[in-house]
């Protein structure tokens, strides 16, 4: 690699990075989509990584000069996002999801198998340089776990046999052929309700079907459930039982109510089962009657 360049994003290396003419055209197109040049930064970094396989210092200088921003600004973005590689990687990059849903379906066994096969830990590259392995957080394939991502393709509902077949294909025939071979697995291929699946039958066990008692489940105080602000995913808990008065100020950026949990008072309108069942430890085959009901 060339020497690192100077400040102000001006490439000084004798091996300055350059995109192919087609990719230069692509960058021109991307820039027209946004009112500012800087907004093209992440898409342009993608184009560069596609060509160079990682974001080298030369790439940073190139992008900075191309988008007329500082190299520091580019570097700040590169370091923020996990998918931009700050170091050289193997021919293929494998991500294994280890977040809860996948882990519940055996993702740990997948990671162990990959580490054994590649002879490296997550974060490393196999000795033959074919694969770099990374541990990923939830990749939006939770219903089809365990899963891996290879380059930009997903492989889901894995078991170790299928996993080896996929990796063999990448190793022997290259990425393009492997992607073709497994083309149909890339798209969302989990369950959806089969055609004609009826909604569940009316529920006799549930005290009152909602439709018949609309009044009783109407939100208690509209103000408390619809603060006039564009929403964010997790406002502080506002259980109905402690709903603020209708005149309460809208929840602001700094939510006030705090659940003091140390004494474990109920936060919402629910309560534990009687003490004897509540204390059941989570060991194999130790099931409370109530928990069994969850299965009916």
């Amino acid at each position: 690699m060339g020497t690192y360049s100077g400040p102000l994003g001006k490439p000084e290396s004798t091996m300055a990075f350059a995109l192919t003419p087609e990719r230069e055209q692509q960058v021109d197109d991307i820039i027209t989509r946004y009112p500012t040049r800087r907004a093209a930064l992440i898409p342009v970094l993608w184009v560069c990584q596609k060509q160079n396989s990682w974001i080298s210092p030369e790439v940073i200088d190139y992008v900075a000069a191309r988008l007329e921003i500082s190299a520091a600004a580019v570097k700040g973005v590169v370091t923020f996002y996990t998918m931009f590689h700050e170091h050289e990687v193997g021919e293929n990059v494998v991500w294994v999801c280890r977040t809860l849903s996948c882990d519940l379906r055996g993702a740990k066994a997948v990671q162990e198998h990959l580490e054994e096969r590649f002879g490296c830990h997550a974060g490393g590259t196999s000795k033959n340089g074919k694969f770099s392995l990374f541990k990923a957080e939830c990749l939006a394939a939770c219903g089809q776990g365990p899963m891996i991502q290879v380059n930009d393709r997903y492989f889901e509902n894995l078991d170790l046999t299928k996993l080896d077949q996929i990796l063999d294909a990448y190793e022997k025939n290259g990425a393009e052929a492997a992607e073709k071979q497994f083309a149909d697995t890339a798209v969302y291929n989990g369950h959806v309700a089969p055609p004609g699946m009826e909604p569940p039958p009316a529920r006799p066990s549930v005290g009152a079907p909602a439709a018949q008692k609309p009044a009783s489940i109407a939100p208690p105080k509209p103000a408390s459930i619809a603060p006039p602000k564009p929403a964010s995913i997790a406002p502080p808990p506002k259980p109905a039982s402690v709903a603020p008065p209708a005149s309460a100020p809208p929840a602001a950026a700094r939510p006030a109510p705090k659940a003091t949990l140390v004494g474990m008072p109920a936060v919402g309108a629910s309560s534990p089962p009687p003490a004897d069942t509540a204390a059941a430890p989570a060991a194999e085959d130790t099931t409370t009657d109530d928990a069994k009901k969850g299965e009916e």
Binding site: V77, Y81, A140, R254
Partner: protein, 459 residues
């Protein structure tokens, strides 16, 4: 007339459902054409308001109301930004729309742009979803060629452009202001609110930010009419059909379209086919990892006749209809409506550690309570799991969580602390047991029932 049971997923099963030819043959762009040529923007906004559609991205804010906050000055350029970041653990629903029916989303963008006065829509898709991006880009290209996007969609002099913008791996970019920063080519660090995006969003301009599913539902709302669409849901003030996801220990994990207001028990038993290996249900995280856990053996405690959940007093938590307001009354959140189901083999301390590792990895680092708190949670939970924990650690977790909540720029920290407090509250005995017994009990690891399956050694 029989009410439709499938709207968003109606075209999923068609061969080549993602192409313009197939989608259009089955109704795509019919509504956009009608909206642009025969309706006034205000009419569309009114229908969406009547439909009582609650945002599908997690917070459940009424979309019609959000659109109403826009008050652009004549010189302003309004933007529509569609949130396809889909990174909340357990959530995998938007992806099915983008991959199997991208034209539904683009049609929603055209109608929403017209209704809100925007001419440019950006669909921000998380970088990992290469396939979704590919399908969306191909669909945009098809729609442009057909003249549905561009200077005169459907002959109407109302230019609409849709651009696909790829992220690069950061959960926090799902938070709307972080997403806007990321869109502008910056680090995905959330902004202080106010100003809200409706006032100052993308590039400092008034901006509507909505989830993929929210926008994809807009054409159906216009097709059925807001009132009829609202009534598809079983709860007042929370209308329509929506996508439910189920993952974890069930027989048929996946995406199911159903009315708002089915119960968690119905979702698990009816749609997802029941529990894997018929083991008992122990706990379910109802709407993505940021929503507090439910326990089937906990009962609704709402004796007062005017309590919103009174009708379910004494029943299991999982028998309460799934709605934004009902779940909030229960002390949890509906979130993204994608449930993570766990059977009795899991240890909840182990589960908590897994989730907190996620939050530690994804905290953007701007606010000290969140950055440091997430690290502390992981350290303490590692200690508890590895046998180095103390009973006092359980209180310590709760006290740190209480100090993290509400003290940060965005809701990420609340989304971390709330489910943590819920887990500690509802499974306190397991945390204490881990401290006292010097680690996790033998045979309680969260991948126990499935490990053999994956290894191909299942009996």
């Amino acid at each position: 007339m029989a009410e439709p049971q499938k709207l968003l997923t109606a075209r999923y099963d068609l061969p080549e459902s993602w192409t313009l030819a197939v989608a259009e043959k089955h109704g795509a762009y019919k509504i956009a054409r009608r909206a642009l040529t025969m309706m006034q923007p205000q009419q569309i906004k009114d229908e969406v308001k009547t439909a009582a559609i609650r945002g599908r991205g997690g917070a459940g804010f009424p979309a019609g109301m959000k659109w109403g906050f826009l008050a652009p000055k004549p010189t302003d350029q309004v933007y529509l930004v569609v949130n396809g970041d889909e990174s909340e653990p357990g959530t995998f629903k938007d992806r099915s729309i983008m991959e199997l029916d991208p034209h539904r989303l683009i049609e929603g963008c055209i109608v929403t742009c017209y209704a809100t006065g925007a001419h440019v829509a950006y669909i921000y898709v998380r970088g990992e979803l290469g396939f979704s991006i590919q399908r969306l880009e191909a669909a945009v290209e098809e729609a442009r060629k057909a003249g549905y996007l561009g200077e005169r969609p459907f002959g109407k002099a109302y230019p609409v452009q849709v651009h696909i913008h790829s992220g690069a791996g950061a959960y926090i970019c799902g938070e709307e202001t972080a997403l806007l920063n990321s869109l502008e080519g910056k680090r995905g660090e959330p902004r202080l609110k106010p100003p809200f995006p409706a006032i100052s969003g993308a590039f400092g301009m008034p901006t509507v930010v909505n989830n993929v599913e929210t926008i994809a539902s807009v054409p159906d709302i216009l097709e059925l009419g807001g009132e009829r669409w609202a009534k598809l849901g079983k709860l007042p003030g929370d209308g329509g059909l929506r996508l439910y996801g189920v993952s974890g220990h069930v027989k048929r994990p996946g995406i199911y379209e159903a009315p708002v207001g089915i119960t968690m028990r119905e979702l698990i038993d009816h749609y997802a086919g029941g529990m894997l290996n018929d083991r008992p249900l122990k706990a379910v995280i109802p709407g993505g990892s940021s929503t507090p856990v439910l326990r089937p053996d906990w009962k609704v405690d709402a004796p007062a006749a005017d309590h919103p959940l009174h009708a379910w007093h004494g029943q299991s938590e999982i028998d309460v209809p799934m709605g934004v307001d009902t779940y909030r009354a229960l002390g949890t959140m509906l979130g993204t409506c994608c449930a993570i189901v766990m059977d009795d083999s899991v240890n909840m301390v182990d589960v908590t550690r897994n989730l907190m590792r996620f939050y530690k990895h994804e905290s953007c680092g701007q606010c000290t309570p969140c950055r440091e708190g997430s690290g502390w949670f992981v350290d303490i939970l590692e200690n508890l799991c590895n046998g180095n924990g103390k009973v006092e650690d359980v209180e310590l977790i709760a006290s740190i969580a209480n100090n993290v909540m509400g003290n940060t720029i965005c809701a990420f920290a609340d989304g971390m602390a709330m489910p943590l407090l819920g887990l500690v509250r509802k499974f306190r005995e397991e945390f204490v047991a881990a401290a006292q017994a010097g680690g996790l009990p033998e045979g309680t690891r969260h991948d126990n029932p499935t490990r053999a399956l994956v290894e191909g050694k299942a009996a």
